[in-house]
């Protein structure tokens, strides 16, 4: 069977609204693919369909040959598919410590949970100084770091990242993108990175997918897309 994530003709509706239409692409281990496009293009919808939060009306998605259809998010997490959703995916009422622990609650291998926890804190050392604080007392950047760190405690193989840079200062964005780089290069994760910030995303991604009004209008290597003048004016406005 084919390795990595294989998406074929995926279509998702919200009632009568067609949010994404006939989308096909692949992502393999060690690879970061950026999904870019304007507001409402269907980027978040795509991630939600892959993490089991919404059911597609047609098409298919497989991970290392295993179908993702009709599986709830909590089951997909057990397959290694972890979604860090839009808007700092943490539980504000819990402490940093508790948010992190959450990612490993379901795992049997408690030794590796501790190891994963240490790795996450090494990646974002600032969190280690905030363990007892409630997550809603963190800054936006720290919250995003916590969301990623929590995902890592689950030892993901495919990371679905929804706009990690949203509302953050450039310095913090760099730090987060560096971390994603590390996860791909050192740990071999497959990463699907949704971003509105197209240039920064393409700079670290290997390839890019451009969505517009729910359709995949362009795909190619990052270098190719960054140099594509039409693309800039037509869909990305930069």
């Amino acid at each position: 069977m084919s390795d990595g994530l294989v998406v074929e003709n995926l279509t998702v509706n919200y009632g009568a609204i067609r949010a994404i239409r006939n989308i096909s692409f692949t992502v393999s281990a060690n690879e970061m693919v950026a999904v870019i496009g304007a507001n409402g293009a269907g980027k978040s919808t795509l991630l939600k369909a892959l993490s089991g939060m919404i059911a597609p009306v047609s098409g298919s998605a497989t991970w290392n040959g295993i179908s993702l259809q009709k599986k709830r998010p909590e089951e997909l997490v057990r397959l290694g598919i972890v979604h860090v959703s839009e808007g700092k995916s943490v539980i504000p009422e819990l402490t940093v410590d508790e948010n992190l622990a959450l990612g490993g609650l379901w795992r049997r291998d408690k030794l590796d949970v501790s190891a994963a926890l240490r790795d996450s804190l090494n990646l974002f050392p600032i969190l280690a100084t905030r363990l007892a604080q409630r997550a809603d007392s963190l800054s936006g950047g720290e919250r995003q770091m916590l969301a990623i760190a929590r995902a890592l405690v689950s030892r993901p193989k495919l990371l679905l990242m929804d706009e990690p840079s949203l509302g953050l200062a450039p310095m913090i964005i760099d730090q987060i993108f560096d971390a994603l780089n590390h996860l791909r290069n050192q740990l071999g994760l497959a990463i699907l990175l949704v971003e509105q910030n197209a240039v920064s995303a393409l700079k670290i991604a290997d390839r890019g997918l451009v969505l517009n009004l729910g359709e995949l209008v362009k795909s190619g290597s990052s270098i190719e897309l960054l140099g594509d003048a039409d693309l800039r004016t037509a869909y990305l406005g930069f």
Partner: protein
Amino acid sequence: MIFIDTLLLGISSGAIYSLMALALVLVWRSTRVVNFAQASQAVLSTYVGYEITMRTHNYWVSLPVAILFGAALGSSIDLLFMFYLAKKVRSGPIAEIAPVIATLGLLGLLQSIIGLIWGNSFLQYSTPLSGKGFTFGNHTVPFSPQNLLIVLATALVLIVFGVVFKFTNLGLALRAASFQPEIAQLAGIRVGRIRNIGWAFAGAAGAVAGAVITPTSVLSPNSLDLLLVSGFIAAVMGGLDSLVGAVIGGLVLGIGFAFILQYVGSSVTFLAGFFILVIVLLIRPRGLFGHQLGRHA
């Protein structure tokens, strides 16, 4: 002497409110649903306890049975109604209130079922403990072994659930699932299952309340309704989310009532509950133990 007696009287009724409030806070914490059926669930569990004492003549056997029944009832309500409802009405303007309305319907349903099985007359569900106050020398205080049982049950529920919520993985999963079900799911928590356990816990806590409070008065299909109001006031005073807050809220209310009854008069006691609530909320809008930073802030 009168002061001490009034205080004890306040503590004994306050413990009842506290226990009721604890049960309400537990539902809220583990399900985020304001459950109007809570009182009727507790009463139904108490009737089951009553049936057991009729057969075994042993209150101490009936107590755990009632508690287990309460847990099973809570869990079934979730499986039969809430789970299904949440699935059908996932978003839209009524998604938030649909479960609340459903619990109102359930309240009526359970009360009718109780009426059909046991009738509407008052029954006596009693403990082997005396309802007469402890005597010191020749003075009898308004605090009986029964009251002591209620205080102990309150403390036990507080400690057991406090420890479970704060220090166990199950507790963490329960809090996560109730605060942010979607994010909890994305973290790998089996939210449906966890919420079901939450409903069972809440049902068990309600059953404890019903089974230890009812022997101080009588058992009828709506015998806990008024207590639910006081319990709710106490829970809100405590911040609705805090177990310790619920207990303190209940005690403040009970002691407040007792002193108003003693020094002002009986005509104002019912209003006094709301009066105490308003004063507390004016001073601390999030309740005595509510968090400063909240999701709804």
